[in-house]
Homo-oligomer: 332 residues x 2
DNA sequence: TGACGTCATTGAAACGATTCAATGAGTAAG
DNA sequence: CTTACTCATTGAATCGTTTCAATGACGTCA
């Protein structure tokens, strides 16, 4: 099929070793031989077979990234950060979408292990730390993204979600609200859980403020809208005067439900704060106050750590925790 | 690092050939040997090195998918369709995001060629047909997605964008509109060009209807919003009474601009139709009329064709063209 | 002229799997 | 008891690279 290094060697009238040297150490080869070989490569359309190369060299230049929801802009931003950084290091990023399925997650990990990728960036869906530790033992490092390691044995790049929850609810309280609603779920998703517990902490120092939890099955626009319609239907006395949504997609869903109802104005009747500060937030119908996570930077950082571990297998695991930032817009 | 088939063989007290047989043709091996080997595999945590396997076997089970905008829901839907189909065939899909950059597109194609993937699904950014034809010669087939082949030598799965444009504008005209605006760009992107020329065709049979083109630099929410604000600022007499947006992202941007202005109501003052029917369209603030493309199905179909070509290198290129479908909602 | 060093090039081993002809043990048939 | 045959297992060749010790050509210097 494709021409091999052997074909190139024959065409150029040199040995395979020389061709390989032209490819990898051109300084060791005389200039005219280099020209001859380069010419042969061009005329045959030769492309180095990375499979064989890697087999011998043992190093791969591919980074695998596994995300739980490829449709969430937060993750595409993360990926963009990682891709940019990879490009400057001469690496490539391939993505897999686990769609929050443990089974798919495992399949992809199998694939990447079989392919002996250089490393794995992962925002885990299921419980995979054990598996990742084993991968590491076999020379494939990984970095958790948007989630800290529970064992502490893996590197991670995350955001202090409890702080984010605190900041969000403090902001609502400081702007005079006292009946807070939290919308998000499932509640056993670590990110959601932490944001909620941060929200609860904020309440501790503010007696007289209440918090109601409205659970969703996922953090999507549709789920947000569904809960929003429930809230619209509530009696005025039972209705929260401020809502903290577990992410911007949910917040946008809520917003849509509220806009469809003439008796609820945002932020007058209900203030609304989201999470992630996706690109869409500032251009929502009511520009959305949100908690910004430095998604691009997180992607970059994660890739750097991963690369460092790939180069030095014995490096200590690092845990980088970014601080979230409040971005105030019209919705509060 | 990782244990190899040799380690397994030593551990189990058999030859490497036998281990390989257990892996690939267990029927040729006696049951107790199978057990012994499987035990060894388990205790050592052996995972087959796909790199070496592929080197010898020459076949890969990885499909590469290259999209021009990983943040556009239409493409994530396409990918989902392909992934689902791949899963049923026991294949894996890895994704690369070209971000509309020819350079990145080329880098990814290099990577995938070096990795000798089984095939490539691509929604091309630049002009890559030549390159893809060469890949095919070397045994790596590809299928164009959301764009027909200009040379006719490559398989493709696309949608009749001219028909889509016609349908959209006919719908606007039939609902009594006569000053149509087209918003989208860049105008040299094939999809945009075709939708616009379909729109123009619809005008031919309806004298008295006008079409103004508002070009954007990309089909994004922000660009839609920008143009929307321009339109809001127009004199009532110069303002279109219906707009056909090149995709739903642009339509949503327009919608946001219009909602922010009290003197423009959708659809009363301006009717609005988008394209793609992304998940977000029905839950937009004014549910959006759109032209549906069967994105999931397209992804599936593309993957099937690709797989067929991977199995039979001499198969004729197929061009599948889906028909778009009008989905009427409140915005028109 | 002969010994030596430099430099470009070569050829073979190695990576980890698969494949296949050859081997060997065991069984059935004559 | 030999022959033929089956079935499980083995060992070597192979895929396309990289690496490295060995080779060889050439020029320098004594």
């Amino acid at each position: 099929m494709s021409p091999s290094i052997k074909d190139v060697a024959a065409f150029a009238g040199v040995s395979v070793g020389t061709v390989s040297n032209v490819l990898n150490h051109p300084d060791r080869v005389s200039p005219d031989t280099v020209d001859k070989v380069r010419g042969a490569i061009k005329s045959l359309g030769f492309v180095r077979n990375d499979v064989a190369r890697h087999l011998r060299a043992g190093d791969s230049r591919t980074i695998a990234m596994l995300v739980m929801d490829a449709a969430n802009p937060f993750f595409t931003d993360l990926a963009k950060g990682a891709e940019d950084q990879a490009a400057t290091l001469g690496l490539s990023v391939v993505m897999g979408n686990t769609a929050e399925s443990s089974e798919r997650e495992n399949n992809y990990l199998d694939l990447f292990e079989e392919q002996r990728v250089r490393g794995v960036l992962i925002s885990p869906s299921g419980d995979v730390e054990e598996r990742l530790l084993q991968l590491k033992k076999f020379g494939i490092p990984s970095v958790l993204v948007d989630r800290a390691s529970t064992s502490g044995k893996l590197s991670s790049v995350s955001v202090d979600d409890e702080a984010g929850g605190r900041i969000a609810v403090n902001h609502l309280i400081e702007s005079g609200r006292s009946r807070i609603g939290f919308v998000g779920g499932a509640l056993d998703v670590p990110q959601v859980r932490d944001r909620l517990s941060g929200a609860r902490e904020a309440l501790d120092s503010h007696p007289g403020v209440s918090l109601d939890v409205y659970e969703t099955s996922a953090t999507t626009v549709l789920e947000g809208r569904r809960v929003g319609e429930q809230i619209v239907a509530l009696d005025t006395s039972a209705r929260p005067d401020a809502i903290f949504a577990a992410n911007d997609l949910v917040a946008i869903g809520l917003l849509q439900a509220f806009m469809a109802s003439p008796q609820i104005r945002v932020p007058d009747d209900i203030a609304l704060i989201g999470y992630d500060d996706i690109d869409f937030a500032p251009s929502a119908i009511v520009p959305l106050t949100s908690i910004r996570q430095p998604s691009r930077l997180m992607g970059q950082t994660a890739l750097d750590i991963l690369n460092a571990e790939a180069l030095d297998g014995s490096a200590q695991p690092q845990e980088v925790v970014f601080q979230p930032e409040l971005i105030v817009r019209s919705s509060t």
